[in-house]
């Protein structure tokens, strides 16, 4: 793939994440989606930049705020939407919803509802690649809040001593749910912790997709060559609340407004236009293409059946011994 093609693909990915999440917030507000929805609007450059460095067979782990990473990794939008609707044609038969999205085909091993819960599991896919001599890379996305969990410490230390092919990508949006970074951490740069584990660590402007890609490329190459893990911290901003519907009373309106002045999608689009990589007509085509993709996905999801009672007992165990209830 040539450089221009790569850039256009990244742009498409970023716009798609933005529009899908806007649509999900809207659908949720209208009561069409059950459960919780957490959007990462304003953080698209990280998912798009990092996943542009990965191959189809590489693995990612993501979080409760994980739509963007799954989409950037190439998850099928129809089945993604059906899953969020809780319908049978979703990747997890409707059992995961937004918070636990996964797709084996796309290498989205799993999204996790426990903050810091994926970090130890990401060691395992990286270990399996090494064990089988497969040369696959794992990227574990997590937030700044997760970096204070014990699993962060355990996972980074173990990955470092075994040179596991994993990239720990911290999306630092400055908020651990309702609490700002300065309240819960003395450090400004989480990547500084890398040194204490004996691994490479770097902080990058997470709103600049090309800078994210540049550092992610180095980290992925390092992992693939067997040179060990990297802690890649991408600083970004959370435009909306912790969840859709969060009034953010703990944040000043001025701070929220300021966050929205850093728009990674707009910034990258402007760069592509000004550098002559794309025209405004191209932008219109991208928007139209994504709009029809989303419309198709919603139609697919809404026409997919809701699981019946027969699904309640399925998938607890790999088999169903003695009838339905294993007790």
């Amino acid at each position: 793939m040539g450089e221009k093609e790569r850039l256009l693909k990244i742009f498409y990915s970023m716009v798609k994440i933005r529009r899908v999440e806007e649509c999900l917030a809207d659908l949720f507000s209208k009561g069409k989606i059950p459960g919780f929805i957490h959007v990462g609007i304003g953080q698209e450059a990280i998912a798009a930049g990092v996943c542009s460095c990965l191959e189809a067979e590489d693995s990612i782990f993501t979080t409760h705020r994980g739509h963007g990473q799954a989409l950037a990794k190439g998850i099928d939008l129809n089945r993604f939407m059906a899953e969020i609707y809780g319908r049978k044609d979703g990747f997890c038969k409707g059992k995961s919803g937004s918070m636990h999205i996964a797709s084996r085909e796309a290498g989205v091993v799993g999204s996790n509802g426990i903050v810091g819960g994926s970090l130890p599991i990401s060691l395992g896919t990286a270990f399996a690649s090494m064990y089988k001599g497969e040369n696959k890379v794992t990227v574990c996305f997590f937030g700044d809040g997760a970096s204070n969990q014990g699993t962060f410490h355990e996972s980074l230390n173990l990955a470092a001593i075994w040179d596991l092919p994993v990239v720990f990508c911290c999306e630092n949006n400055g908020w651990a749910q309702f609490t700002p970074q300065k309240v819960y951490m003395k450090l400004e740069d989480i990547s500084k912790r890398a040194e204490s584990y004996g691994m490479a660590g770097v902080t990058v402007d997470g709103d600049d997709v090309l800078k994210v890609r540049e550092e992610a490329e180095k980290a992925v190459a390092r992992a693939r060559k067997g040179e060990g893990p990297t802690l890649l911290e991408c600083k970004t901003r959370r435009w909306f609340g912790h969840y859709v519907g969060d009034a953010q009373k703990y944040r000043s309106p001025a701070e929220v407004q300021q966050a929205r002045e850093f728009d990674p999608v707009f910034k990258f689009g402007k760069f592509l236009l000004e550098s002559g990589h794309i025209s405004t007509a191209h932008v219109d085509t991208v928007e139209a293409g994504i709009k029809s993709e989303i419309e198709e996905a919603i139609a697919f999801a809404e026409s997919s059946p809701v699981a019946g009672a027969e699904e309640l007992f399925n998938d607890v165990y790999a088999e169903l011994p003695n009838g339905r209830d294993l007790r």
């Binding site: 979703g90 995961s96 996964a102 091993v109 060691l123 395992g124 064990y131 089988k132 165990y317 790999a318």
Partner: protein, 323 residues
């Protein structure tokens, strides 16, 4: 047949499964050169090498998490947690990750993860190294919980656990590690989910687990001198529970005692008693009795007062018989 200790039967099972299946690997603290805190993995590093016998930092969550990720990619990890008490350190990885990852992802993954760990008292190891916590895990759908009482069962069940496509919490009993017993020379398996009638009797059923199986058998000898004929069932697997064997026996004896080393309150004895009351109340001729530890932490200095023993089983049976 030949005589083997419980601990060596574990080593044999691990070694045989590693020889049989390249995807099986061992992970845990001190499992390599030291061969594990209780020597369960002794010699495996020499035979199978560093690639397949992975010594880790003291990081229980990382051990279990790594096992989950590796299992998702088709490997069959056997993780050792040095003491069952330390399961509490990695509870999220076991309960929220391992036990949920099949259901939550709609059956996308198989999770053939074995977590081996020694439970139980008897070593004066105190409150943080002696607990029996099986009921915590039996309460979590998605896990299988196994508690072997003999060298024969520990080997056969461990081999079955390694071949099982589900997470198996394999609770060994450290007070039984030195126990000797007969095992066959050739390969054999013991199925998960099957209890065993260790002693047939017509008067009363004693369902026991792990170390208490031996206490129940000893108690049955005493009671037979009093003319009480006790049937002893070794549960062997906690989940999935072998209701059939329990119900068949209680159907015959109409009297039930459940004996476990764990704290009696909210233990599996309560579950079995409730199950029998719900489903065969009309067959019971006496209230169900439970034998278990008192509702206190395992004491370092007063362990002999704490641990349930064969006398407790005898007393419970007499109480039931007198009713």
């Amino acid at each position: 047949m030949r005589e083997t200790r419980y601990i060596r039967a574990i080593t044999e099972a691990l070694s045989e499964e590693m020889a049989r299946d390249e995807d099986v690997f061992i992970i845990g603290e001190d499992v390599g050169v030291p061969g594990g805190a209780f020597s369960a993995t002794k010699g495996l590093l020499e035979t199978y090498g560093e690639r397949r016998v992975k010594d880790t930092p003291i990081s229980e969550s990382a051990i279990v998490g790594l096992a989950i990720g590796a299992a998702v990619q088709g490997l069959r990890p056997v993780a050792e947690i040095m003491f069952a008490d330390f399961l509490a350190v990695c509870m999220d990885q076991i309960v929220n990750q391992l036990a949920k990852s099949r259901y939550m992802f709609g059956g996308m993954y198989k999770l053939p993860v074995v977590i081996r760990t020694p439970c139980g008292g008897g070593l004066n190891a105190g409150p943080q190294h002696s607990q029996c916590l099986e009921s915590w895990f039996a309460h979590v759908p998605g896990l299988k919980v196994v508690m072997p009482a003999t060298p024969y069962d520990v080997k056969g069940l461990l081999k079955s656990a390694v071949r099982d496509d589900n997470p198996v919490l394999f609770l060994e009993n450290k007070a039984l590690y030195a126990l000797k017993g007969e095992i066959p020379d050739g390969e054999y398996l013991v199925p998960i989910g099957k209890a065993e009638v260790k002693r047939t009797g017509k008067d009363v059923t004693v369902v026991a687990t792990s170390r208490m199986v031996h206490q129940a058998l000893e108690g049955a000898k005493t009671l037979s001198k009093e003319g009480i004929d006790v049937e002893v069932i070794d549960l062997r697997t906690i989940t999935p529970l072998d209701k059939e064997t329990i119900f068949d026996s209680v159907g015959k004896t109409s009297k039930l005692v459940v004996a476990h080393e764990a704290v009696k309150a909210f233990g599996i004895g309560a579950e079995i008693a409730a199950m029998v009351c719900e489903e065969m109340f009309d067959r019971l001729k006496a209230p169900v009795a439970r034998v278990g530890a008192p509702f206190v932490p395992v004491p370092f200095n007063l362990e002999n007062l704490y641990l349930p023993n064969s006398d407790d089983v005898v007393k419970a049976v007499r109480r039931v018989m007198k009713y």
